[in-house]
Amino acid sequence: MSLGPHADFIVAAYAVTLFVVAALIAWVLLDYAAQRRVLGNLEELGVTRRSQREG
């Protein structure tokens, strides 16, 4: 596969896209882990939501 005389532009476009998508995925995964951790800590302390008490 030859990218021709403008290979730098093609590679840069794919690299930027890969970086942005990877950053989005990393943010989603880290945020999920953080929320689960905090929820787990609160549940260990015996804190419940109002809806859980009513149920």
């Binding site: 990218l3 930027v16 989603v28 945020d31 929320q35």
Partner: protein
């Protein structure tokens, strides 16, 4: 199960946990096939190998606009029906839509330099797309800086509905004004002007990006529901300490 049952966050989380692995697998397969087809596609007779940028730029543009359309529908749910998940859906779509709009602008700029001889011109299509990115940043700022989440949600919903005016401007800018950007070439009444050897990988990549968007959107919605649970539990904890 009725559609309204999805309004229950707990049930929604259960469904998301079940469908996410399938969505991730489908997205990976589509990207594997799409990238293989895109990187092995023939060069364009005018643009040469730079046409490979199209396989990223066009889907990113579509999804940048799709994200705002989704936010506008969610805004109606927030303002009119006060649907419990509508604000969650709108808030979750904003960072993903902003990321795709950013990818569209950067890849378009990198495509423009070798084909037009410039990274940027204040052309109607490019400018309206930049306005879309600025609108996304405005909505994100409203969500992130509001002290009271409900007030931030209403303000963001209003901006989402007002900003929807920009979507037809982006779509028809190439027809209404004389622009450097090419007119529509995929979805036209008279059929696509792109050769099937380039159109097929483009459509596969568009499908892959759409699955990526939906997968990320559901995952961010799940995170947002958990974040609201944490907030609610902290409020209950604070009330107990005070009592």
């Amino acid at each position: 199960m009725a559609v309204i049952d999805l309004a229950n966050p707990t049930r929604f989380l259960r469904i998301v946990d079940r469908v996410l692995p399938w969505l991730i697998a489908t997205t990976v397969v589509l990207f594997a096939v799409g990238l293989y087809r895109a990187l092995n596609a023939p060069d364009d007779y005018q643009q040469g190998a730079t046409v490979k940028i199209m396989f990223l730029h066009v889907p990113a543009a579509w999804l940048g606009m799709f994200g705002w359309a989704l936010m506008s529908i969610a805004a109606l749910g927030t303002l009119v029906w006060r649907h419990p998940l509508a604000d969650v859906a709108g808030k979750a779509a904003a960072p993903i839509g902003a990321a795709f709009t950013f990818i569209c602008l950067v890849t378009g700029s990198l495509w423009g330099r070798p084909t037009w001889g410039t990274y940027w011109v204040w052309d109607a299509r490019l400018t309206s797309m930049l306005v879309l990115l600025l609108l996304y940043l405005g909505v994100l700022a409203l969500y992130w800086t509001a002290e009271e989440p409900g007030r931030g949600a209403r303000a963001a919903a209003i901006l989402s509905l007002v900003g929807a005016v920009n979507l037809p401007i982006i779509k028809f800018s190439v027809d209404w004004w004389n622009t450097l950007h090419q007119p529509a070439s995929v979805f036209r009444l008279s059929g696509s002007t792109i050769d099937p050897s380039l159109l097929t990988p483009l459509l596969i990549m568009a499908l892959a990006f759409t699955f990526l968007f939906v997968t990320l959107h559901l995952a961010v919605m799940r995170n947002e529901i958990l974040r609201r649970r944490v907030r609610s539990m902290r409020l209950m904890q604070a009330q107990e300490v005070r009592a």
